[in-house]
Subunit: 253 residues, 2 copies
């Protein structure tokens, strides 16, 4: 039988064995043939990092009529590159997640899930990242999955502009619809926890508190989430501040 279903490449940053990944596979099998290439271990906070100093390996995990899955020793963005380079058919879409925990506000900068989504976007295909605001390894994805299907279907219908992908964050609990948002301004404070190892040497662990710099701003992703709405934030892979280009052209060197 000739394969005429679209090919959907899935990855995440919680690793190949995360529950959220299996839940996303379930949903995406509704839309086409699924190709999973996911990190062999958790890769949270990896941003769009790629592996340049070390080799990469890719191993088959599972194969059936609906999907094939592979684990990769690299980062989430490496997994997307693997999906585009090591298989006969070029993926038609890249879908990432479902992340355990939100990737809202400035955390999009650090997110491995969103790094992979942006990598899909750089390959010129529709790319969407999904995150559930629940860090539990056994989180309940049942309500989220219905919305993942609904949002993805809408994206297929409407399309996305070139060089723009989506960052979708889904609250836990009762959902009051979806809202198109902008990235909330904020930053991390008190980021280094100091500890001592058994040999009395100092080490640090990155932690800290996220400070929302505009907690009452309607239209931001954190505001939507606080009001039990799904936030859908369109994300650019062109980082240029065009306003600043115009302003700086007046500078004389």
């Amino acid at each position: 039988m000739k394969e005429d279903r679209p090919l959907i490449l899935i990855t995440n940053d919680d690793g190949i064995y995360a529950k959220g990944l299996r839940e996303l596979i379930d949903v995406m099998c509704l839309f086409g043939k699924v190709l999973v290439v996911a990190p062999e271990r958790a890769m949270s906070g990896m941003s769009a990092a790629v592996t340049l100093e070390n080799p990469l390996r890719v191993f088959e995990v599972e194969k059936n009529d609906n999907y094939e899955s592979y684990k990769c020793t690299g980062t989430p963005a490496d997994c997307v590159k693997a999906g585009f380079n090591l298989f006969e058919k070029r993926p038609d879409y890249v879908v990432t997640g479902i992340n355990h925990g939100p990737n809202s506000a400035t955390n999009v900068v650090y997110s491995g899930t969103m790094g992979a989504t942006m990598e899909g976007c750089l390959h010129g295909v529709i790319s969407v990242g999904f995150s559930l605001c629940d860090f539990d390894a056994d989180a309940d994805f049942s309500k989220a999955k219905v919305w993942v299907a609904r949002i993805f279907q809408k994206v297929l219908e409407k399309g996305l502009p070139e060089r723009v992908c989506l960052n979708v964050n889904i609250p836990q609990g009762d959902l009051k619809g979806a809202e198109i948002c902008r990235q909330t301004r904020g930053h991390w404070e008190e980021e280094f926890e100091k500890h001592k190892d058994p040999y009395n040497h100092d080490y640090y662990w990155l932690g800290g508190n996220f400070i929302n710099e505009e907690p009452d701003a309607a239209g931001t992703d954190l505001y939507a989430l606080k009001n039990q709405k799904i936030s859908i934030t369109p994300v650019k892979v062109d980082y240029t501040s065009l306003e600043t280009v115009e302003e700086m052209k007046k500078w004389k060197f």
Copy 2:
């Protein structure tokens, strides 16, 4: 003597022993007290990755009246966080590089140097990343250094908008001035080189060719570099596509 010089935090992604870092220290000592926190090994392609799954360690390397330097086991962005968290005085500026090799076009997405620059920007200080278009470990930075000083001095004079940092790329050879640019559109092709290890197992190495999708577009960073001009690209840490927000608000869910 009371310290009244500004504190300039320096990091890079080529590691604490890279020549480009030492050259940048030289230049930045003209502008203030320098605090170096740099990765203990090469961290190219690390984007804005942060270390969440592992501890971090920081070791003093050198200390004198003009600068203190520390090596860190983490990523370039971790190094910036360390610079803001582990020392008495908060840095006034973050300056990164001088990178061995360009961080132009879409490579800003993968660059550890620019990930660190964006981390500085997220901390609310003026942040500038410098790269030389020469991958040689013993590259000649003499012409570049003069321009690093000149550009940084101009930035101090003019300031930068909030949530905007600079990505400065400097060609090797004769320089024909500096130009304010936007990020060139492009992508990587044929990214996976296949090899066999001594045990006959496959492995891959990320390589490939960068495809410039707009090679003749004046105003792009690659066009400036091709014409022997320094490219200065203002980079946003807010990735929202505001045009797409407006467009998507018409979608009905």
